[in-house]
């Protein structure tokens, strides 16, 4: 198993350009996540998906879009790159048990990809 793969590893964008960060997993996980990591700030959740066709916002979704057309792939789209989006982006996946009767679910281990370093100038 390759686990979670991300492409590209590094990219420089000019302000206003757009790009898609690719993420794929081969573990048949239902949940997938996108995080950004800034120095001293920990990991912040951008978007997550509970399964194909279903996505939801995380803590810092502004300026990003996602789609989940298959179980395996979860691309992150930046439409108008801004310097504030300079960061390291991590994709993760996990198997999560959905809550019953409206209660919270539970996620098993999140497996992370190697990250994409993005610099917006």
């Amino acid at each position: 198993n390759a686990g979670v793969t991300q492409t590209p590893k590094f990219r420089i964008l000019k302000i206003g350009q757009s790009m898609t960060l690719q993420c794929a997993q081969d573990m048949n996980h239902n949940y997938m996540y996108w995080y950004r990591q800034d120095p001293g700030m920990g990991l912040k959740l951008i978007y997550y998906s509970v399964g194909a066709g279903i996505t939801d916002k995380g803590e810092v979704p502004n300026g990003y879009n996602v789609s989940r057309s298959t179980t395996e792939d979860f691309p992150l789209r930046l439409e108008l790159a801004a310097p504030s989006q300079t960061s390291v982006y991590f994709c993760a996946s996990s198997f999560a048990y959905l809550g019953t009767s409206g209660g919270p679910g539970r996620s098993e281990t999140q497996y992370f990809g190697p990250g994409t370093r993005l610099l917006v100038l």
């Binding site: 996540y33 001293g40 920990g42 959740l45 995380g58 959905l98 679910g105 996620s107 992370f112």
Partner: protein
Amino acid sequence: QKEVEQDPGPLSVPEGAIVSLNCTYSNSAFQYFMWYRQYSRKGPELLMYTYSSGNKEDGRFTAQVDKSSKYISLFIRDSQPSDSATYLCAITSNEKLTFGTGTRLTIIP
């Protein structure tokens, strides 16, 4: 108040020392507690996972949870240079994790 607080360090200790890493949290609904290790320019990887108060041991690593104080710790015994990394606590009550900011640890040979 942040949901999860973690001392960012950096923390430098000599090889063989016992290391203590700590996080506090504010939401008593949190019930699953994890420690991730992140080497430089790599993605985080799970080190320890626990869901109850008390201690959980795995080799040189011990995770400790005190739900009454909302305090979690990771102890590393007989620290090795290969333990040099950033350690992130992660806490959750559902499918989404809330991460601490991470503590950068350096073990000096």
